[in-house]
Amino acid sequence: MGPLIPNDIITGDWNFVIAILIGIAFGFILEASGFSSSRNLAGVFYGYNFVVLRVFFTAVIVAMVGLLYFDYFGWLDLSKIFILPTFLSPMILGGVIMGVGFVMGGFCPGTSFTGIAIGKTDALFFAIGLFLGIFIFGEAYPYFANFYNSGNMGNVTLTDVTGIAAPWFALGFTVIALAAFWVTAEIEKKVRKNMKEYKF
């Protein structure tokens, strides 16, 4: 049955209305979970607040396991959904750059939007930085166009690359995430004892 729009069950006219509604839900969940605060987000790297890890990895494992069930019940044809293409080395480099940006800026693009919504100037500056960063990339693109397009593996899944069935990855992620939740809860307790001025 699903996905609804590629299967023409819902016409493309509704696309943008749905985009806004999905965006509202996304923004609401991010803000309500505390992602509009850069200190909450950066806390994951210093052990005083693991909210990012909890929300993020819960979402990943719920979605992974959920998608498999949706496919089984025939609600969603997994062969028709968009699989992010893999460009191995550019993606590793991109992730490294984003990792540094994350620690320096304290936001990621989606969370900075929610930060702006509730009046965080630092979020606004981060978004301006995003704009500049992409602009610089666009201007400098000819210098690294070859690298940008290198390592193209197409829209491959973990199963395509490793030959291991999807449930193994779903289970693996779930076990790692659940273990991380229990361990980080303890770490967080210890670190927070030494921080008084931060309201959690």
């Binding site: 996905p3 729009i5 590629p6 494992i61 719920v62 396991v65 498999l68 069930y69 089984y72 062969s79 028709k80 959904i81 968009f82 699989i83 992010l84 829209n155 069935a165 999807a166 449930p167 779903a170 289970l171 779930t174 076990v175 659940l178 939740f181 229990w182």
Partner: protein, 205 residues
Amino acid sequence: MNRNYLFLTLLMLVLAIGTFFIKKDDVYKNQIKPETLLQVITQPSRYVTTDQVAKRIIEKDPTLELIDVRLPGDFDKFTLPDAINVPLKDIFTDKGQDNLGIEDLNVVFFSNDDIIADQAWVIATRLGYKNMYVMKGGLNCWIETIINPTMPPETASEIEFEQFRFRKAASLYFTGGSTTQPVSVTKAKVKVRRKKKEKAASGGC
């Protein structure tokens, strides 16, 4: 609070392990629904007559694709011009299916009678292929009507005589009466398209 989390942890683990038991057979994913199949099977529109087939062969219709579903031994002895041999059991293989589902081509299955051809048609339809037909009566009927047509009785209608004249001419054509041209029949451009690739959503961050 800790007890709730323990429960949720276990629940998530059980759900994740559950995904191992829900794998389904991908092989049958593209098959059509039994109800739809029943509906198309009961329709006689899949049959084409030997006359129609003969006419299209003579006209060198580029959209015609004849598939002989008999065994290779029979195929070597006698078959229709430009027919491809795909024995019934090979319909299940990728190699056999290479000849099916080609855009703009109408497949006509035939065998000695129309029973095996019918089976091939049902299997291929179940696998999701379209634009397929069965030659009514098969090769036996072909011999009877096209190669050795019988003269209709004096009392027959003009239409029957017309048909007879066509069959007589066709008979000459197929039995070598037409010595004119060993034309290489130009088939439609064969775009091999094993399975229609359905559009995946595009996107990206």
